[in-house]
């Protein structure tokens, strides 16, 4: 009797597990399928790419689309431009954010409360309000069609980065900092020599998130850049897809090539990435 009950319980458990796996595999397939389809297209000849119905495996692998993309100077120039725009600023921005977070987490100062509230308010300001006036102002000071509007505001640090790092700094014991102060390190010295090295994982997580956001950014570069040789990678990709005679394998190969570095970074830095998202997502 008891044995039979145990057995039926086991059977139903196995059934639930199977259904669970089936649903999860199906969900993953739904996510991956679009990518695999464009992957397939990218390895076809142009003639085959427009053949209907679609075939997954045309029976050959044609890498000429990739050859063309890698031989396309515009793509490389775009990548270089992206790195120029994002590269230095992500370090500066994370540094200024960290300095601010340090003050909020570890220094007891008069304006702390009100300054933090102002920072919280800054996250509520919708970008759509500042879109037009910022453009007019940047145009007035000759910043349009330069990288400055994409770099300078970011260099001051961002509120979300401050929140995340402040949270992390809270977890670093005060006595370590106090001991360093007794040894004669000033506030800034404490920050640079003690806090930053201790907070390395958090800083790396923020730099990664910053890089991915900057690399993927479309709105800013699209709004401010006009000259083609200044285009970032995303703008170059956008321009390729917009051309009238669409060479689908080439377009798909470029899309895949632009996506791959981010997917690779995500694979290797999953832990920091997920933690960064959960922490900034949930606060406190």
């Amino acid at each position: 009797m008891a044995n039979a009950k145990l057995k039926s319980g086991k059977v139903s458990r196995i059934a639930t597990k199977t259904v669970t796996y089936a649903i999860l595999v199906f969900a993953c397939l739904m996510i991956l399928l679009p990518f695999t389809i464009i992957l397939s297209t990218s390895f076809k000849t142009y003639a085959d790419s427009t053949k209907v119905p679609f075939t997954f495996f045309p029976g050959y692998i044609d890498v000429s689309a990739y050859g063309e993309v890698f031989g396309n100077i515009a793509i490389w120039k775009g990548l270089l431009n992206t790195l120029i725009v994002v590269g230095p600023i992500m370090f500066i921005g994370v540094f200024t954010s960290a300095l601010s977070a340090y003050a909020f987490a570890k220094i007891n100062f008069k304006w702390s409360g009100i300054m933090f509230t102002v920072l919280m308010m800054s996250m509520m300001l919708p970008g759509v309000i500042t879109m037009t006036p910022a453009y007019v102002v940047y145009d007035m000071i000759y910043w349009t069609d330069t990288y400055l509007p994409l770099m300078i505001p970011q260099a001051f640090g961002t509120a979300s980065c401050v929140f995340y790092l402040r949270q992390y700094f809270h977890g670093i014991p005060n006595d370590m900092l106090e001991a360093a102060e007794i040894d004669g390190l000033g506030r800034f010295g404490c920050f640079c020599r003690i806090l930053l090295p201790l907070a390395k994982p958090a800083l790396i997580a923020q730099i990664i998130l910053w890089f991915i956001a900057g690399y993927n950014d479309y709105f800013g570069p699209m709004l401010y850049l006009d000259t083609e040789r200044k285009f970032t990678l995303q703008l170059v990709l956008k321009q390729m897809t917009g051309s009238a005679d669409s060479d689908w394998p080439k377009i798909m190969a470029s899309s895949i090539i632009t996506m791959l570095p981010m997917i690779a970074i995500y694979f290797f830095a999953q832990k920091q990435f997920i933690e960064g998202i959960v922490m900034t997502g949930m606060k406190e």
């Binding site: 990518f35 464009i38 954010s97 007891n108 500042t130 505001p153 479309y218 995303q234 998202i277 949930m282």
Partner: protein, 306 residues
């Protein structure tokens, strides 16, 4: 006495260093957020057909009056955006909670599933939109292959009124699943096990446990994802602009921000221009800020459980 003085100077020093260190992002916000915002109020009362402020002509409330009197496209874009935001955020939450709940069970390969579901999140809007444009292409798209395989007619997905917005919603749900699922997973793992154990001892069914314990306990996360997702969706731009730059068939995929952008930079500046666009921007901004304010007021309650 001397000790007292030393403490005083230390407090003073802390005030100076603290303010100095903390200031940078706040100065950035004043310069690049608040100042343009105030300037935007000024612009919205003017007619400006170039980007040169010297050409501005003060017109008072004319821009706002015109918007409310005749800008049907703008009001259509508000409706579109709310439809998009409500449906895509709700669907995304339901699916991601379902998946997070499945992943919370003791199964193998959790990590692999999570990694895969999250991939769209790290891909750029341009690349993802390009991909979907190809899949939804009228002549060569895979989706239409499927349609014809089942004996149905081809559909011009992004150029037909009935299908354009549903496709935008579908793409948004597809892309946002991973993010919501990760935050739900974090919330589910923080639920105290003993609640479940107690309920199991009492003989509650799985569905009952889920509805009466899990859902209420993770409600702070649900609220957070709901409101943040909604605020984000209300400001959607890149996906709409790339898929349907001019607002799609009969403006059915014209989002609020796309309408503002087009008025400012794409459409005839003699009819609209920067002043008019600033007025539009303010209306959209106020709509968004209402939801931010709701979030601000209720955000203190997120932490309650956990």
């Amino acid at each position: 006495m001397r000790k007292e003085a030393a403490r005083m100077t230390r407090a003073k020093r802390d005030n100076i260093y603290g303010t100095l260190f903390a200031a940078s992002p706040i100065i950035g916000f004043f310069l690049f957020g608040l100042l343009p915002m105030l300037f935007s109020v000024f612009l919205s009362f003017g007619k400006l057909t170039t980007f040169d402020l010297g050409d501005m002509e003060f017109v008072g409330f004319e821009n706002y009056a015109r918007i409310f009197a005749e800008d049907d496209r703008f009001f259509k874009s508000i409706g579109n955006t709310f439809l998009y935001a409500i449906v895509s955020v709700l669907l995304s939450l339901v699916f991601s909670l379902f998946l997070a709940q499945l992943l919370a069970q003791e199964i193998h390969g959790k990590k692999v599933f999570r990694v895969i579901l999250f991939i769209p999140y790290v891909c750029s809007a341009v690349a993802i939109s390009t991909m979907w444009k190809w899949l939804l292409d009228y002549n060569f798209g895979v989706l239409n292959d499927l349609m014809t395989a089942f004996g149905a007619e081809r559909v011009d997905w992004l150029n037909e009124k009935a299908t354009a917005m549903p496709m935008m919603i579908f793409m948004s749900v597809w892309g946002g699943l991973g993010y919501n699922m990760i935050l739900y997973t974090a919330a589910l793992t923080s639920v105290n096990r003993s609640y479940y154990e107690a309920a199991e001892i009492d003989g509650a069914s799985k569905a009952r446990i889920f509805m009466s314990i899990t859902v209420p306990l993770i409600s702070p996360t649900t609220f957070f994802l709901l409101i943040m997702g909604f605020i984000g969706a209300l400001q959607s731009f890149a996906n709409f602009q790339i898929m349907t730059p001019y607002g799609g068939p009969d403006d059915s995929t014209l989002s609020m921000v796309l309408r503002v952008y087009n008025a400012a930079f794409v459409e005839d500046s003699m009819t609209y221009g920067m002043g008019y666009a600033s007025a539009l921007g303010w209306i959209v901004g106020i709509i968004v800020m209402i939801f931010s304010a709701i979030n601000f007021v209720f955000s203190k309650k997120w932490v309650q459980y956990g």
